[in-house]
């Protein structure tokens, strides 16, 4: 029957496209990373690890992901709960809060560069408050902690919005009756949140964490906009090896590391925040 083939015809273009532009480059990246002048091996990974910046890039990446993602989740959770109590003007507030999700990380980096550069608005504010007397240079290799904080703030500012959207969407799927039932039985607001709302939102929290963790491992332009080459992360190193050192194989080794980390993070979140079949609504 002609109907049988129809769904395959509809899906085929997308499948072919994703095969050519996702799976093939995926395999190519891995092949490239293991390809050395004398056959296959870990040569590129050794060169990657021997590089001066590698250690910093790994440490920075982990610190960055480890701080930015939990902060985003906590803040977004708070914002999502705040929105529940907003009556009039909720749509307006929601729109404002979610504007940053449409911005590129490059733009976010530039925005926070304007805030935090030596003659930036934060330094000016501190001057007006009488806390500093002259322009402050925070974003150099001499002030690694301030630089790190600046990058985290910029990413936090930008990407919390998408977590808010995912959590608010998830919260809309949780009927208010559950919380009402709990309060009828005498639960305090905090207990309702921890015992009812939070567990029921596990699926949304899970997808938010997967999305954010993968993208945070990939963060790149925000780092370059604010810190230039003073704050190496894994992807910026991949970019440098590809574009400046003209060593695609070492760049591919970095890419493989980032992919493995993303995959591991995804699997971890899938496991840790699994909702057992029998508990699904």
């Amino acid at each position: 029957m002609r109907g049988r083939a129809l769904p395959y015809l509809l899906v085929a273009p997308a499948v072919i496209f994703l095969t050519v532009l996702f799976f093939v480059p995926l395999v190519q990246t891995i092949a490239l990373a293991f390809q050395t002048s004398n056959g296959t091996g870990f040569g590129n990974f050794v060169r990657m690890a021997d590089d001066l910046n590698f250690h910093d890039a790994v440490v920075n990446t982990f610190r960055f992901v480890g701080l930015a993602v939990p902060l985003q989740l906590a803040a977004a959770m708070g914002m999502a709960m705040m929105l529940r109590h907003l009556g009039r003007g909720r749509d307006m507030v929601l729109w404002i809060w979610t504007i940053p999700l449409g911005l590129s990380d490059l733009a976010a980096g530039l925005i926070w560069l304007a805030m935090l550069n030596d003659r930036g608005y934060l330094a000016s504010l501190l001057f007006h408050l009488g806390l500093v007397a002259e322009p402050q240079s925070w974003l150099t290799y001499e002030t690694p902690i301030a630089l790190f904080v600046a990058v985290v703030i910029a990413e936090f500012w930008r990407a919390t919005a998408i977590v808010v959207v995912i959590l608010v969407a998830g919260l809309q799927l949780v009927p208010k009756e559950y919380a009402e039932a709990a309060s009828v039985f005498g639960a305090s607001p905090w207990r309702i949140f921890t015992r009812i709302t939070l567990p029921l939102m596990k699926p949304s929290i899970q997808s938010a964490l997967i999305l954010r963790t993968v993208l945070a491992f990939e963060a790149f332009a925000v780092v370059i906009a604010i810190g230039g080459r003073n704050f190496p992360v894994l992807v910026s190193e991949a970019y440098n090896w590809q574009n400046f050192n003209q060593e695609p194989a070492v760049a591919a080794a970095y890419a493989v590391v980032v992919m493995v980390l993303s995959l591991v993070a995804t699997v971890v979140w899938l496991r840790v925040l699994r909702t057992p079949e029998e508990q699904r609504a």
Partner: protein, 267 residues
């Protein structure tokens, strides 16, 4: 109780400010130019607005062109994503077929990967095919980013349109294609336009793949990234403003669909 309410509203306003003020200050820097940027300390309310810096920046060779290329890439990416994503989404929503789950899994799998990075090995093949350093090449890569999203969201869009409506169209004389065109598409249109706008914004904002896959024909993001280290702050901020404005406008247009879309797409 009213005290708590006031505190709560103050919190809401503070978060709004946290989002809006930095954007406003970037705009102030971009529009104020070097005098504002170099000012110390900055006045409380930076208000000197002139488009001189912006005009100056746009006059730099390559800036306006980079905007056009960025726009072209984003439009191509939008077209590809919609053209490939809608049929696939329709198939997922309307038919149960062998392999449907495998396809869904394949689409979801792309989300566990940093897709942009996959641009790295593509350079070689793209050079061979003449796609390297072309808007089309970058748009193809960006479509790999936006397509999974387009498939999942359009699947949920079509799922929300009752099958009965389509069946009614068939009974009342439509061929399957006519039914899809006359009944399903008009109803899906608002959602489809949201999908399109998202694909546009994803492409417009993407930095890494665009930088890796281009050399002279750079998108605005790739252009800005390349010139960061060698251009004055005023130009960097002007570029940042140019990058932000279309995104904010487009997100404003799709704000109604944001939640329905992300709620579903993130499942």
């Amino acid at each position: 109780m009213t005290g708590r309410r006031a505190l709560y509203l103050a919190g809401v306003v503070a978060i709004c400010a946290w989002v809006l003020v930095p954007m406003w200050l970037l705009a102030a820097n971009a529009l104020g130019g070097q005098p504002v940027i170099a000012a110390w300390p900055k006045p409380w309310i930076p208000l000197s607005i002139s488009f001189a810096t912006l005009a100056e920046f746009l006059a730099i060779e390559g800036v306006f062109r980079a905007m056009l290329i960025g726009f072209e890439v984003a439009v191509l990416c939008t077209l590809f994503s919609v053209a490939l994503g809608l049929p696939a989404g329709y198939a997922l929503a309307r038919y149960s077929f062998r392999g449907a789950n495998a396809f869904r899994l394949m689409v979801l799998l792309t989300r566990a990967f940093p897709v942009g990075i996959l641009a790295l090995p593509l350079t070689v093949g793209f050079i061979r095919l003449g796609l390297y350093d072309t808007p089309l090449g970058i748009a193809l890569m960006h479509t790999a980013l936006a397509l999974p999203f387009a498939v999942l969201v359009s699947a949920s869009l079509f799922q929300a349109i009752p099958r009965e409506l389509e069946e009614a169209a068939w009974v009342f004389g439509c061929s399957p294609f006519q039914a899809a065109w006359r009944v399903v598409m008009p109803l899906a249109l608002p959602g489809v336009s949201a999908v399109a706008i998202f694909a546009f914004v994803i492409s417009w904002n993407e930095v890494f793949a665009a930088s890796v896959l281009s050399a002279r024909n750079r998108t605005l993001t790739a252009y800005l990234l390349a010139m960061l280290s060698e251009s004055p702050l005023s130009y960097q901020f002007a570029g940042g403003l140019l990058l932000i404005v279309p995104s904010v406008l487009f997100i404003f247009l799709v704000r109604r669909h944001l939640f329905a879309m992300w709620g579903i797409a993130s499942r």
